[in-house]
């Protein structure tokens, strides 16, 4: 049963790194970032090795499994394992962390070097919890990681954020805790419906339960609300723009790119898999809210004057697509949503981190304060445009494929709603290009002449991200091969099949 504990190792390594940093003597505080980067790179390496052990074609749904008793009195186990979707999300997280660390290299001014160990330790500890939350196969363990993630994010915003960091951190914490508490109740209620015993919280023990309809619906709602706050769906999204704009760009990347994914990941793993009946019951409302999120987030993004808030609203729109695909429940839309989670992580990282490079030069995050910057920093303007194009889902870049799969898969069930959702692509062109126009085009700003273009470190932040946009845009097959079997397994287990094409006798005619 228990093989080499890959997942524990991957999760624990950043935590060890964080401890090392916290215990670091003040005299070598300046080395904190190198140590952090080292730990995150080894973690990435380990994850790649672990991913190579994963066999997509295996009939085992979860692989790299580990299981130990933890609190048998309450039925809680320390159980880890990944399926295709979880593996891809863990990979995304561990790729993003070193990029974020590199981007955060000079976040603190030289006279605050003493705070650096703490700053980088918080990011590493967040990585531990991120790996844990995607790898947990015990509902209670998932909940613990789910809540524990709040702590480093809270301190990252509250201690290292912008002018209104206290307010933003508090708002973030209250929204998350409210969602979390409701979920805690749902977790316990779910346990009472299960077989109980010393491992009663295992996901496998809680799948396919026969529950009274109203109970199932109530428990579903408990989970769904927590995930909806996390994923931010309209109307429980208002914490995100504040949190994003008061965060450092690296924090915002991890917050929006990874942390929020727990919401959509949870919808797949817990809402649809554990409560298929209730999910179907809620679907009409959820998909309407998802479409509202798409359009509303995009319209709000158009109206923003703060770069970071704008990016946050684009994410609300993109999360709308992910949720739409999840609740449309076709193999195509699920493959699209899973892939979207990955692409959105990289795409948002591009936007936030490159925005950070601009903000650190201009010392302002207001869009109207820029203008004509392409004349001064052409390289930075170039990568900024590429990140923007990735966000507006330009074909050839990864996000296009995921967005199109979500829409095409959803169209099989809900044509009118999909057409409305698709109009989001026009709004996406507007929010990205208007922002680019205001910041980068126009006459050369004489007051900013002499601003340096991309440094070597910044190039190393940009290169992996842009390479990922392109690879995932032109050759997503390796990722799809990991995701597809999982999607198929889940949909078979909840007994939902794809709508067949209406005029579909085309097999064999295609080359």
């Amino acid at each position: 049963m228990n093989q080499f504990p890959w997942l524990t190792l991957i999760g624990a390594l950043p935590a060890v790194g964080a401890l090392v940093l916290w215990l670091l003597p003040a005299s070598v505080a300046g080395r904190a970032k190198q140590i952090a980067l080292g730990f995150s790179l080894v973690t990435l390496l380990l994850t790649v090795l672990a991913a190579l052990q994963y066999q997509p074609s295996s009939t085992e749904r979860f692989q790299l499994v580990e299981q130990h008793q933890w609190i048998p009195q309450f039925g809680v186990s320390y159980a880890l394992g990944v399926d295709g979707i979880a593996l891809v999300l863990i990979l995304m997280s561990v790729i993003l962390v070193p990029i974020c660390l590199l981007a955060a290299w000079r976040d603190l001014p030289a006279d605050q070097v003493g705070r650096e160990p703490h700053y980088f330790a918080l990011m590493l500890s967040l990585e531990t919890f991120m790996v844990g939350v995607f790898a947990a196969t015990d509902v209670f363990l998932f909940y613990v990681f789910f809540e524990a993630m709040l702590i480093p994010v809270y301190f990252l915003i509250g201690q290292f954020g912008g002018a209104r960091r206290q307010y933003a951190a508090m708002k973030f914490l209250l929204f998350s805790l409210a969602g979390g508490l409701i979920m805690l109740a749902a977790v316990i209620a779910l346990y009472t419906q299960g077989p109980g015993g010393t491992d009663g919280f295992l996901v496998s023990k809680l799948t396919g339960l026969a529950m009274p309809q109203s109970t199932e619906r109530l428990i579903f709602l408990g989970f769904f609300l927590a995930f909806a706050v996390k994923a931010p769906m309209v109307p429980v999204h208002t914490w995100l723009p504040d949190a994003a704009t008061e965060s450092r760009p690296a924090t915002a990347t991890l917050l929006v790119g990874v942390f929020d994914k727990v919401g959509t990941y949870g919808m797949i793993r817990f809402c649809l898999e554990l409560f298929p009946g209730a999910s179907q019951w809620a679907t009409p409302v959820v998909i309407v809210l998802a479409v509202v999120s798409i359009i509303y987030g995009a319209l709000l993004a158009i109206g923003q004057t703060d770069i970071m808030r704008l990016i946050a609203f684009t994410s609300i729109s993109h999360f709308g697509f992910i949720v739409l695909g999840i609740f449309a429940v076709t193999t195509t839309s699920w493959a699209g949503s899973s892939l979207y989670m990955l692409n959105h992580g990289f795409s948002t990282a591009g936007l936030f981190l490159f925005a950070g490079m601009l903000i650190s030069r201009k010392r302002s995050k207001r869009i109207p304060d820029f203008g004509g910057w392409q004349r001064i920093v052409p390289g930075l303007a170039g990568i900024w445009l590429v990140a923007g194009l990735s966000s507006l889902a330009l074909p050839g870049l990864g996000s296009f494929i995921s967005e199109f799969l979500v829409l095409a898969g959803t169209f099989q069930r809900y044509q009118v709603l999909t057409v409305i959702a698709t109009s989001g692509i026009i709004l996406a062109a507007l929010y990205i290009l208007l922002m680019y126009q205001r910041m980068m085009t126009g006459p050369k700003p004489e007051d900013a002449v002499g601003t340096p273009d991309l440094s070597l470190r910044e190039k190393w932040v940009a290169i992996p991200l842009i390479a990922l946009f392109l690879v995932l845009g032109f050759y997503p097959k390796p990722v799809m091969d990991v995701i597809n079997p999982t999607v198929k397994t889940i949909l078979t287990s909840v007994n939902i099949s794809d709508p067949a094409p209406a005029a579909g006798t085309v097999e064999g005619s295609s080359k």
Binding site: Q166, Q304, T332, N484, A502, V506
Partner: protein
Amino acid sequence: MTSFVIPLGEVGATAQTATGITAYAWLLVALPLFGAAVLLLGGRRTNSWGPLFATVMSWSAFLVGFGILINLLGYAGEERSRSLHLFSWIPAGQFQVDAGMLLDPLSVSFVLLVTFVGSLIHVYSLGYMAHDPDKRRFFAYLNLFVAAMLLLVTANSYLLVYVGWEGVGLASYLLIGFWNWNPPYASAANKAFVANRVGDLGMSIAIMVMFWQFGKTDFASVNAAVGGANQGALTAIGLFLLLAACGKSAQFPLQSWLGDAMAGPTPVSALIHAATMVTAGVYLVVRSHAIFDAAPTAQLAVVIVGAITLLFGAIVGCAKDDIKKALAASTMSQIGYMMLAAGLGPVGYVFAIFHLLTHGFFKAGMFLGAGSVMHGMNDKVDMRGFGNLSGAMKITWATFGLGWLAILGVPPFSGFWSKDKIIEAAFIGEGWRPWVFGLVTMLGAAITAFYMSRLFFMTFHGEKRWPKDAHPHESPSVMTVPMVILAFGSAFLGLFLALGDRFATWLEPVVGGGHGAEHHPVLPIPVITWGTLALVILGAGVAWLRYWRDQVPKTAPAGSLLTRAARQDLYQDQVNEGLLMRPGLHLTRSLVFADQKGIDGAVGGLAALIGGTSARVRKIQNGLARSYALTMLLGVVVILGAVWVMQ
């Protein structure tokens, strides 16, 4: 109707595996893409040799294309459809799309047009952009455009076409905004991209309907499935494809971006906004002929859009004093002709593509001529400041003149062979349609003759109205040689392709027969041909009277109501602004306000309600609640830890 739909479907399905040089067709896309990548990533190091390198890459793509042409000509007509499987692109559940190419007479025609005219324009740009500090970036974008355009026309599935489709849109955006330090130019670039995105919405939805109905998005499967598809779905696909075509080809009602797109450097206007990219919509309709043949409503919509646009463009063209904007209006109008022909079905497909090719030559030639004029006149574009340039720029005058004769449709120049056939085809049919569409195309020919002659006379003839500092001179040969080559095309390409029905026979395996003599126009053919010629002479004559013989005022007169409307592009921007932009702006602004005061406020208000008094909400921000929340969180962690330790 359906009797020939099914064999047409089979035509697409019989593509054989590519052999010989056709198996290397991926080089068509790879070579210019490599050029773009080298120039963009290489940075300043490539400044000195980059433009030349990009030009070489473009010509190499032409050579590959030419090799494929020779290769295909080696087969019998029915065997000239060759497929090339590249790799599995998107394998996702039910949705399986492979990246592959389809090399058939239709795509190869485009490949040759794009690479030949494109390469000539690369050469021309070596001279035109010689002194631009960002020359390298310009050539990188040109190469990017060529790569995307070739992907668009050689892709074997609608989804892969979409990649090229937005790829050329991106290149167009980058090149229109190439001088984007000038704010109106940056706006023009945005306008083009957004109008194109509206079209792309149509493309997306059309593909979704295909996937929903047929389960596939590649041409072969879609064509094969058309026979068994339901009428509503086919009409929907047709109409959404038409929307896509309207965006890319600047057809009514998405035409407004093309005039502004003239903000780009003139070689860009020639290549992208005249010869190639803007004709992609026509390609799309002809490529989807199986769908349109089976969806008469959508087909009629195509014809109507074409007819409206050809008149719209022609009317606008009459009032423009900016030489590039007049040419842009003319492009819109000429693509209207092609669109109309494509909508006529089998009687029109061949001539739509035929006119597209000849137009590619003569319009690109005229744009390059306009660029040459600007080059000699300090980048001025107002024709009221030109006049009698024929002496100062003899080569430009002669090459432009051939383009002018071609677009007028004067025999034996290229445009005659293609446009006259479209007019004939428009007169084919039953009921009101041939009369309306036929007469529209004839009227269009007359207006075209007027505004193009106006443009030609105002620029090259009449009296000098030059600004004081103007010293017009002929352009260097690196610019004039491409113009001369294109002028040859304007003169003889039509005749060459029309002789012995050469082009029709070449294209027949793709679009099927039906363009031949079995259909009869409602008017006798000589009446149509001579009638059109008479109208053309009339139009040109009026222009001669007003813009050559009479004095042309240096500042535009007030003009009639229609003239004023035409100068404003028939109020297209005002309509868009009133209907879309202003309401959109208000909506966005009020939503931003509502989001902060309304939704966020409501959530805060709920907290106040639960807390009992608003004073407590204030405490939240004082930090008391923060300590509660943190204590609670820490408490959970401590309890869990304690239980774990004590177990």
